[in-house]
């Protein structure tokens, strides 16, 4: 129902007799008064009872979703309490069949998986890239620059863009940039999932998603941005013998590197190349420092795989004249642009364009995207 009905007149102030009742929190006496449009007005106590009981019913009907939400919360006492409460609710809800309507609705919407908690990290065991993975070149030794693989309108470079919310702005700007390119084609658009990352597969399992999308979309290049929500010391899906308690320490770095490396290997084994967008400076210096730590781990993993992945740093690219965070950036043209979103973390469309430009440069550097023009010119000339 979208229409907004008319407002009723303001209720009258209470009489002296009402005042004594007020102290008992609105217990109504006599028959129920009516309001505008034949509505029965009620006592505050009854309204609160409806709200309270309604919320409890809502909690029971929504218990599986709430339990997943609780599971997805950042580590801390609130999560522990929320898990205990929603865990109990889920048991009760299941026992009295109140979770069935939600399950049926989700099933009808084709979203049965929504309430499933998935912490499985399915990545290749070996961290090193396989020899068959290289799509960029066939040179055996890394000292030799591999020949660039050529793409053309008949065989375009297929680009898939994915990651957390930080990928959205540069991702769409990249789509704009490649829109008129005949040798580059977007597949799957921009898959930017808010509040996700590699630390918490329970929130959104990127490992499963990437594997599935690689199979479905068959991209030649995957542009990724991760880490914006990974500056916490809490991870799910840890191997049995691994424990991570603090962000940035050795155990964290080892596990995070395993996940970054796993994603890179997953992609390279599917025959695709990865362009990893580094994290920018943010308004909060402490967050910037954490992002630098994540960048270091990602860059290190990518450096181990120079033939199948490239790292595009954005911190200095989007830094102001002070070398740190800046909302506004002066372009080479002298124009000043608002490069960041109001939250001081994400990029504006202008900021996204700056990063997208770098990604395009990286694509042209890594792949041969122009020689088809000469070849088609020769064909035309000889024809």
């Amino acid at each position: 129902m979208i229409t907004g009905p008319r407002q009723p007149a303001s209720p009258p102030p209470p009489t002296a007799a009402d005042r004594s009742r007020l102290r008992q929190f609105g217990s109504a006496g006599g028959g129920p008064p009516t309001g505008t449009g034949d509505r029965r007005l009620t006592s505050a106590r009854r309204a609160f009872a409806i709200a309270g009981i309604g919320v409890v019913i809502g909690l029971l009907l929504d218990a599986p979703g709430l339990h997943k939400s609780a599971f997805n919360q950042p580590a801390g006492w609130q999560r522990t309490v929320a898990l205990d409460v929603t865990g109990g609710l889920e048991h009760v809800s299941h026992a009295v069949y109140l979770d069935r309507p939600r399950a049926a609705l989700k099933s009808a919407l084709g979203r049965s998986h929504d309430d499933r908690i998935d912490t499985n990290i399915d990545i290749p065991v070996a961290a090193a890239p396989s020899s068959s993975a290289a799509v960029v070149g066939s040179a055996a030794g890394q000292s030799v620059t591999p020949p660039r693989v050529a793409f053309s309108p008949a065989h375009p470079l297929r680009v898939w863009i994915a990651g957390d919310s930080l990928v959205v702005s540069p991702g769409y700007a990249l789509l704009n940039d490649i829109e008129h390119s005949r040798s580059i084609k977007s597949v799957g658009g921009v898959d930017g999932q808010i509040a996700t990352g590699l630390e918490r597969p329970d929130v959104f399992n990127w490992f499963t998603t990437i594997r599935a999308e690689l199979k479905k979309l068959k991209p030649s290049v995957v542009v990724l941005s991760f880490g914006g929500n990974d500056d916490k010391g809490y991870m799910t899906g840890l191997p049995k013998d691994v424990s991570v308690t603090e962000f940035g320490d050795e155990a964290w770095a080892r596990e995070y590197a395993r996940r970054v490396g796993g994603v890179l290997d997953l992609i390279s084994r599917a025959g695709a190349y990865t362009v990893w967008i580094g994290l920018p400076f943010t308004r909060d210096p402490a967050q910037s420092a954490r992002f630098e730590r994540i960048n270091a781990v990602a860059a290190q993993e990518i450096a181990k795989r120079p033939r199948t992945a490239a790292f595009v740093p954005t911190d200095l690219l989007l830094a102001g004249s002070n070398g740190g965070f800046s909302q506004y950036l002066m372009l080479k043209s002298g124009e000043m642009v608002d490069a960041r979103a109001p939250d001081g973390v994400h990029l504006s469309s202008a900021g996204g364009q700056i990063v997208a430009q770098k990604i395009v440069e990286q694509l042209y550097k890594t792949f041969d995207l122009t020689s088809w023009r000469h070849r088609s010119g020769q064909v035309a000339a000889s024809g």
Binding site: M1, I2, T3, G4, P5, R6, Q7, P8, A9, P11, P13, P14, D18, R19, L22, F25, G26, A28, G29, P33, G35, D38, R39, R40, L41, T42, S43, A44, R45, R46, A47, F48, A49, I50, I53, G54, V55, I57, G58, L59, D62, G65, K68, P101, R102, L105, L175, V190, I194, G320, S326, Q327, Y328, E335, M336, D338, P342, G344, S348, S349
Partner: protein, 469 residues
């Protein structure tokens, strides 16, 4: 804190009974509701609580001075100081960087390079709403339409959490009298409150979010990659999205206020059923429209100073109304388009007389709706370049496939627009029936609505569009 979250639900279930328990002692209630509202506001960033307190104290101080001043010149001077402070606050947080940036680029185009004076200012949530309420309060006191309230009552009025971050823009004359005496705990309009909360939740969480993620965001981000049918449907989808998002929020705000015993003014009245632009502005964000009318358009002279001046007043009001929504040229153009539209409509009306209003209602509704949708393109686009791409894309790629135009998208758009033509008696009837149900059935209806919105909505909560205004 935003409404459709577990945190707010817990907050409200604590605040509601305590508010009613404190109600008989009005001073205690005012202190309580101010504290609760500051907690609500500070949940986002506690630093800005001081800004809200500062705005409250500043406005109260000058309102008292204005009311006590005996000479007209003194009253005017005090009003000017009060407005400078309030507009200065809004100007600094919302427009400083925009004007510095724009000046820089204009100067650069003229061959002059100015230094970078931008300050990277964080925009406090809801600042446009509470400063507009503060402005209307001092102006009403100056006009002697309102007697200044005591600090606690005024503080409760300005910080009252249901309207604090995204309106409606409630006037002092509407809310302050309600806060003078305890509200009657026997006459809570709970069925209307729960109806508004439930429908508001559904509009925001289900309709607005679905359309945003499935067509609006992808198309407006890269118009060049989409066909004309997709662009056209995305524009209509955005019209429904912004309505469902904003009207959904204010419905919830009105409903929550009702549960605490307070009546807020209506903010939306089926705006897409409007038969003219003037009619549209009487139905869309009604509390802002009347604010602009009473505190800008009429003081400028309204329609009393000749045709040319009326057109100028309309244009200026709509341009500033556009700028109120955000510090960007796209908003200015959006406001300008509405200004031109309103002035043109006025011109036609004067030539043809009032009788023309009665004719071709459906045609005029169609024209009004499409004009409003066209203007939304500028409102939603991140830049003028993208808005232009949207407009050219509307006409140039009709033969291409439109995979984003799915049956679900079309159904939600149809629901969003079609429901605006429902007779008012239908929701009134639903509310009346709801009010006659037993406590158990009402609770069940509320619980089922919560489940539906949660299950059909996306995982997590997307922010409201109007928060950034």
């Amino acid at each position: 804190m935003i409404f459709p979250t577990a945190t707010f639900t817990i907050f409200f279930l604590i605040v509601m009974p305590l508010s009613w328990l404190a109600m008989p002692h009005v001073r205690l209630w005012r202190i309580f509701i101010i504290c609760a509202s500051l907690v609500f506001y500070g949940w986002w960033d506690w630093h800005f609580v001081f800004l809200l307190i500062g705005c409250t104290l500043w406005t109260h101080f000058w309102a008292i001075r204005i009311s006590r001043a005996t000479q007209e010149s003194q009253r005017r001077a005090f009003l000017t100081v009060a407005l400078i402070g309030q507009l200065g606050l809004l100007g600094y947080f919302k427009y400083f960087d925009f004007f510095v940036n724009s000046s820089h680029n204009v100067a650069h185009a003229a061959g002059i390079d100015l230094p970078d004076w931008t300050r990277t200012i964080v925009l406090p949530v809801g600042i446009s709403f509470f400063t507009f309420m503060a402005i209307s309060y001092v102006v009403d006191v100056f006009r002697r339409e309102l007697r200044p309230a005591g600090l606690l009552r005024f503080g409760a009025y300005l910080t009252f959490f249901p309207h604090l971050v995204a309106g409606p823009i409630v006037r002092g004359s509407e809310l302050l009298p309600q806060m003078k005496t305890p509200r009657n705990p026997r006459t809570v309009d709970s069925s209307r409150a729960f109806f508004l909360i439930g429908t508001g939740l559904f509009k925001k969480v289900v309709i607005a979010n679905y359309l945003a993620t499935h067509i609006v965001d992808p198309v407006f981000a890269v118009p060049g990659a989409h066909s004309s049918p997709e662009i056209l449907v995305a524009v209509y989808a955005y019209a429904v999205q912004i309505y469902a998002d904003f009207a959904g929020y204010t419905d919830m705000a009105i409903g929550l206020a009702l549960l605490l015993g307070f009546v807020f003014p209506q903010n939306f009245n089926s705006p897409y059923a409007a038969g003219s632009l003037q009619d549209f502005w009487r139905r869309w964000h009604m509390t802002l429209s009347r604010w602009l009318r009473d505190y800008l358009y009429i003081p400028l002279g309204g329609s009393r100073k000749g045709k040319l001046r009326t057109t100028f007043n309309l244009m200026l009001t709509m341009l500033l109304g556009g700028l109120w929504h955000g510090a960007a040229w796209t908003f200015v153009i959006w406001g300008g388009l509405h200004g031109i539209g309103l002035a043109t409509e006025r011109w036609f009306r004067e030539r043809r007389g009032a009788s023309s209003r009665q004719r071709h209602l459906w045609l005029r509704r169609l024209a009004t709706f499409n004009f409003v949708c066209f203007a939304w393109i500028f409102f939603r686009s991140d830049s003028l370049a993208l808005a232009w791409q949207m407009i050219t894309g509307l006409f140039t790629r009709w033969g291409e496939p439109a995979p984003l135009v799915t049956a679900s998208v079309v159904i939600w758009i149809a629901v969003g627009i079609g429901s605006q033509y429902l007779p008012a008696r239908i929701p009134e009837g639903v509310m009346a029936r709801l009010s006659r149900l037993s406590l158990a059935w009402q609770s069940l209806a509320l619980g089922a609505t919560l489940m539906l919105a949660n299950a059909m909505g996306p995982q997590g909560v997307a922010p409201f569009i109007y928060f950034r205004f």
